[in-house]
């Protein structure tokens, strides 16, 4: 048994080298040092081979999101990943949420003011991820922050600017939710007229990822009917996620306090 493991584990380690894993990971920063009183934005830049994907914070039916362990100077701390808007990845009846192509996962680094604003802090990270196409391959990378090639910050700054456009924003709408036996019904008021939208749930096991989302325009916005997940056995009190109108148009919505039987409707926060 042990020898089997040694052999197989060695095979896994081989598959985990960045060259083989269909994903290249790099740690980049927006600038060399943080502006006074502000965090330094760093980011894990994933470059994925065509057709391969990594996962959003809620990966959907399969997969898992990347996991990061930071190594930072004393007194420094890393914030949470700011997840840009994901795409829906459909493989037959399995539906995942994630990213293809190139994606920057931005993270704010905070530190003692004096140190922080004088020179680039020494930042490194251990990143674990799974990259999938038909099949899945686990990957690991140890990445360290260094100055950009040729000392030209322009391209990296541009990547952060692009990534910021893909970050979800709090929805400036009123969102209410009802639950019927088999569906959640989100009613959005004050939203622009659009031909369709896509809801991405923040929590797993609330909605059935593979089911068609029924979109219905209304005079003041739209209504979205989402099939409940078969894995949902208890009533939920909160449904959170993103409503995506299009590229660069992702909005955070959250509806709280509705009941399973469907008549109670509460004003939603963001």
């Amino acid at each position: 048994m042990l020898s089997t493991c040694l052999l197989l584990c060695a095979a896994h380690a081989g598959a985990q080298s960045p060259e083989n894993s269909h994903a290249k990971v790099e740690l980049i920063a927006e600038q060399s040092k943080a502006p006074p009183g502000k965090p330094l934005w760093v980011g894990l830049l994933f470059r994925l081979d065509p057709g391969w994907h990594i996962y959003w914070q809620n990966p959907g039916d399969s997969g898992e999101p990347p996991e990061v362990q930071w190594q930072l100077p004393a007194g420094f701390s890393a914030g949470a990943i700011r997840w840009p808007q994901p795409i829906r990845l459909v493989t037959g009846t399995v539906v995942d949420y994630g990213y293809e192509g190139r994606v920057l996962l931005m993270v704010p680094i905070k530190g003692p003011l004096a140190l922080h604003s004088t020179r680039m802090p020494s930042v490194s990270a251990d990143v674990k991820y799974i990259v999938c196409r038909e099949i899945c391959i686990p990957g690991k990378a140890h990445v360290t922050l260094a100055a950009p090639p040729g000392g030209d910050w322009g391209p990296w700054r541009a990547l952060f600017a692009q990534a910021r456009q893909q970050l979800p924003r709090p929805a400036p709408w009123s969102v209410t939710a009802e639950a019927s036996k088999s569906q959640f019904i989100l009613t959005v008021r004050g939203a622009p007229q659009v031909p369709s939208v896509m809801f991405f749930p923040l929590e797993p096991n609330q909605i059935d990822n593979a089911s068609r989302q029924e979109f219905e325009p209304t005079r003041s916005g739209f209504r979205l009917r989402l099939k409940k997940s078969d894995l949902l056995v208890k009533p939920i009190t909160s449904l959170r996620g993103l409503i995506v109108l299009g590229p660069g148009r992702a909005f955070e919505v959250g509806a709280d306090g509705f009941t399973i039987n469907g008549t109670a409707v509460h004003r939603a926060g963001n």
Partner: protein, 204 residues
């Protein structure tokens, strides 16, 4: 009025025909019955196992999440422990021909021997019919059925959704927990969870 009634009847009938397609396995409800053939050519019918607990475990030996539990011996341990206690453990391979994890009966039997696996049987489901009947999403994905034929668990093997063998120690194993509770007559406290893993490689 009469026409309306007729419409209702037609509608209800249409719903009844449409139902099986959307009838996935739901905890607390009757587990869908099935007939499937194992890697030794034996036929298994779920309803013939009334009176026993049945575990369905979706597998794909090429999937790193499945490998986590077989390379570590975790899955084999569970299979041995629970089959020794009279539980029927059916591993299901739903990979389509040409896809990762597809196995012939002979390949599967050789593999079972090689890794010391100890399920009651491995059901070969290359059409994905059984997988779709239960709406199995991932490998692994676990379903547990009680002696009355009711589904009592649908979800992950444990609470650490990673491919790391080192995460097995200290993980809460949902299969152990559910079977411990159910076999001692208690309700299953975690009856569903997100089944983590690779997507099941169904035919296109």
């Amino acid at each position: 009025m009469k026409k309306q009634l007729l419409h209702s009847i037609v509608f209800i009938m249409a719903m009844m025909i449409a139902l099986p397609a959307v009838w996935a396995a739901k905890v607390g409800e009757a587990a869908p019955d099935f007939t499937a053939t194992d890697s030794n050519g034996n036929v298994h019918k779920l309803s013939e196992y009334r009176g026993k607990f049945v575990v369905l475990e979706w597998t794909n030996r090429g999937c790193p999440y499945t490998q986590k539990h077989y390379d570590s011996g975790n899955m084999q341990r569970l299979q041995k422990e629970w089959t020794a206690k009279g539980v029927i453990w059916l591993t299901v391979a739903s990979s389509a021909p040409g896809k990762q994890g597809y196995v012939t009966a002979a390949e599967e039997n050789a593999y079972l021997k090689q890794v010391n696996a100890a399920p009651t049987a491995v059901l070969l489901d290359p059409t994905g019919a059984l997988g779709h009947l239960y709406d199995a999403k991932t490998t692994p994905h676990i379903f547990i059925i009680n002696p009355q034929g009711t589904l009592i668990y649908n979800g992950a093997i444990d609470d650490r959704p990673t491919t790391d063998v080192s995460d097995i120690n200290g993980a809460k194993n949902y299969v152990t927990a559910a079977l411990n509770e159910a076999t001692s007559g208690k309700p299953v406290s975690v009856a569903t969870s997100r089944p983590y893993g690779c997507s099941v490689k169904y035919p296109n």
